[in-house]
Chain length 407, copies 2
Amino acid sequence: MQRSPLALPFPDLPAIAGVRIGTASVPYKPWTRDCVTLVELAADTAVAGVTTRSQCPSPEVELCRARLPGGRARGLIVNAGNSNAFTGAAGRAAAHAQAARVAEVLGCSADAVFSASTGVIGVPLPVDLALAGVDKAHARLGQADWLAATHAIGTTDTFPKAATTSAIVGGVRVKLVGIVKGSGMIAPDMATMLGFIFSDAVIAPALWQQMLNAAVAGSFNCITVDSDTSTSDTVLAFATGAAGHAELASMDSPGADALAAALADLCRQLAIAVVRDGEGAQKLITVTVTGAVDDGSARRVAMSIANSPLVKTAIAGGDANWGRVVMAVGKAGEPAERDSIAIRFGDTLVASAGAVVPGYDEAPVAAHLAGPEVRIAVDLGLGPGRAQVWTCDLTHGYISINADYRS
Amino acid sequence: MQRSPLALPFPDLPAIAGVRIGTASVPYKPWTRDCVTLVELAADTAVAGVTTRSQCPSPEVELCRARLPGGRARGLIVNAGNSNAFTGAAGRAAAHAQAARVAEVLGCSADAVFSASTGVIGVPLPVDLALAGVDKAHARLGQADWLAATHAIGTTDTFPKAATTSAIVGGVRVKLVGIVKGSGMIAPDMATMLGFIFSDAVIAPALWQQMLNAAVAGSFNCITVDSDTSTSDTVLAFATGAAGHAELASMDSPGADALAAALADLCRQLAIAVVRDGEGAQKLITVTVTGAVDDGSARRVAMSIANSPLVKTAIAGGDANWGRVVMAVGKAGEPAERDSIAIRFGDTLVASAGAVVPGYDEAPVAAHLAGPEVRIAVDLGLGPGRAQVWTCDLTHGYISINADYRS
């Protein structure tokens, strides 16, 4: 699979005290690369998480959902090559057996182990391989760096995606590192987005969850590649407490604002990296909607634009087809007045007051659309609501990846 | 543009007493074919209509919406090649001027004229051409047959789409004919679905509207090519009253049931014909959902499957990828229990009880998927709700039509 033309270089990432990683190879797929990732976390690590809204989630998602209220984590196990989704009782048993083995090798309670799997749907996770993977990865704990882990959680991603940031909390620089795998598919059935965030922050689990919810709302929940939702989407955030500052217990604690802002920034970087590796993506599209009646309405209009196949194919073709943007606004079902809508491509006002602008010159728009990053801005002229979402164009590459194949 | 492999032959259609058609060529586009269609309707023709739910409709749609409550029609004018959508005051003035000219040449009240336009968005309908088109088509009234009219309302349709049926009402055979243009696009911006239905039934407008609403709910509102909604979608139904039976005034009138059933059947035929001419379509997909908590929930799950790019590309590739169907059920946001879902491709049960069926044999499924008509059935196992919707596969043809082009 060709590296995405929108790929970013792998960043320099600091170590996070309290995090040790081991990876291993077990043949869920005929791969030679590592596909099992074990993370050991310091005692009392706070955990927060957000999982897919799918009504048909994988047993790993259900396991995370059940354990997140406990707020504490000691281990994380990630399988790549098999999502274990829609595998009935056999799949559930395999997920629980693997997590139990992690608890055993790390010497922690079963409730402190979290897991995620990504890959083909409908094939139960082979329990013997899953257990062997834990043992092999455990034997190599501390030997894998961030890049190795990012590769090991990936499926058909065309480049490894990670980000880092920091915040000053109580006079201490708190570090955050995130790794993510996305939607670069060669074989079908591998569409899951998994994100794992590690920090040395000292923070109460409830507050960490609150910060993660807010960060995800403005990042992972504002991206779309093809409007489809995986059975396995999971974002987990771990705070080991190694930074040593006074524990953050509420948003009123000094430094909480800074940490929340850093977490939001990290999530946004990771989410946009996923879109940059969208299937067949040639262009990153940022859709900004302002002037909606409220933020929720703005988000729904923005997602209607970002999910429209006709808008996405127009951008793929470098076509300044603002009529399709009007169409996508109109179909969103949100309050909109045709004659008060303004549309911009890049910095150029294209349409306003219900019609194309007088003397519209397409040249600067065509130049903007020829680049790898396209901005579409719509002002509805109704109220204070605003939202920003990210997507990619819809190309022959998407069809080739998803249709020109038989399982 | 190549004729759709799913094209149907043009049916034999009866004349409808009280309907006279003329077509004309005016160069909205550099076409030599006719692109203006004028229909003269008998005095007291009942009219019913359903228009797009877009918040950004064309002025023609607004004109129809304003006049439908009157319930009576004498004229219809259809322009192909220019949708007149998002054209501000100039477009509104052109639409009203053209309708006024129709009223003038037919000698009827302005409120009895209906109109529809399809084609490029954002270019005001040239009023001089629009008026000349009315005059030229009027001079040829009665010379155009159904096939000529079907061609003249089309844009980039790859085959002409029409259907007929009949019902016995009060001992008289009432005839119905429908013509439709759909979503076969070469140039972008031409995605509108227009449908026009003509009958000699004698019926009160309010009842005719009630029958049309029910028929559209199970037909035109149950199809999707790419989830996008035109600014101009319009279905108008005209009943000239020439059949001479006693006027139908309510669903209790003898024969009303038969007419409603015939209208529903006609709409279903026309709607499926639109899908057969979907952009790039190689396969017609029928999605049936049963066992939902209610019919509305079933329809939303069915549309989630029918709109999923991953499902549609899998079908394009002949891939029995039932995991993507699970995904689409899960993302619909409707009540669903993973472990009570059953999935069939064609006549083969593929998955049930939350997992693939024991001993699943893919051979009959692959054979079914190799054909031009694919059936996907999902039983949610929860309640009595059911729905059926139609879509087509997502192919390289769709991308070529919509992206490999610059306006």
